[in-house]
Assembly symmetry: C2
Homo-oligomer: 159 residues x 2
DNA sequence: TGTATATATTTTAAACCTAAACTATTTATA
DNA sequence: TATAAATAGTTTAGGTTTAAAATATATACA
């Protein structure tokens, strides 16, 4: 690998990275907005709730509030509110953990599981349509680039 | 262009696109989170406020509330609140528009302009560091891919 | 002119989100 | 054992966000 990037004739690399970031941000906001709208119209629900369901679906034994907030990369208190509403709607349960009276284990109910599968299938269709212009090859290419980008963010996480 | 994608042996394209979307979302959340933190610590401010300043900086004559919310891709009512606080802090002004008593033009104050330049410079540094693993070439490549992706989102916008 | 429609903005209600403070419990350790 | 520190979770305060309703003004057009 060369130690010195030769880029002085063109735009400085920092500016290119900034342009990239602004585009990435815009794209993900755009897509998020469209998905949010679809979830609202088709399922009367929200993205954060879908995210919770998706996380819990991956962990059939459930997750501690703690683990859930880590999994979703959102704050602890945030999860409390979302899960509150989902418990209310019988999508998840929040049960005491034997042996640790501080902890609560959140789990998808059967209803929640069924609901998730329905929504996840549609979600996949929506994303497929929204990213229709990206070929499978391009997608793989982008995934690799995104992975590269990740390796520099401050908190490495085990996954 | 071939009309039929041959992809049956590997993962279906829809799944690849979904994987891409989840990665993109995660990356932009990661970066947004780190930038938010930096803005909070270094400048005692928030990302949305920076976004407003950036938009207004690009339009020295100011923007209608309307145009600002379109520019930032956030809802109309949202902008009201953010601008309220910024007016309060003398970062922007909100002045009536002669000839249209419904409209209000939002503009950066001199203080706001100075503050923006200071923050923008740091912001560029932060992004440059966060995307350090992406070479100028890779960045250009990604930008092109993101542009491709954009061409399929529902509301084409003039820019 | 009068009325319908469109536009610009704010307000409202509900959810989301963070950081920080707080409560309760558990674990480590002197 | 007693105390300190760590952990799990909720609460609080403040800001962000959306969608929908409301207000005010402007425009189109019969």
């Amino acid at each position: 690998m060369s130690r010195v990037a030769i880029n002085s004739a063109a735009e400085p690399t920092a500016k290119t990275r900034l342009r990239l970031w602004l585009k990435l941000l815009k794209l993900s906001r755009q897509i998020e907005g469209e998905l949010r709208e679809k979830f609202r119209v088709d399922f009367l629900t929200t993205l954060p709730r879908f995210d919770v369901m998706a996380a819990l679906y991956r962990f059939p034994k459930g997750l501690l509030m703690n683990e859930l907030s880590e999994e979703l990369k959102v704050s602890n208190g945030n999860v409390t509110g979302i899960v509150d509403r989902m418990v209310n709607d019988s999508i998840v349960t929040r049960a005491p953990v034997p042996g640790d009276r501080r902890a609560l284990r959140v789990k998808l109910t059967d209803t929640g599981k069924k609901e998730f599968l329905k929504q996840a299938s549609k979600h996949e269709d929506w994303v497929d349509t929204l990213l229709n212009n990206i070929s499978a090859n391009d997608a793989e290419l982008m995934i690799d680039l995104v992975d590269k980008a990740f390796s520099n963010t401050s908190k490495e996480r085990s996954e």
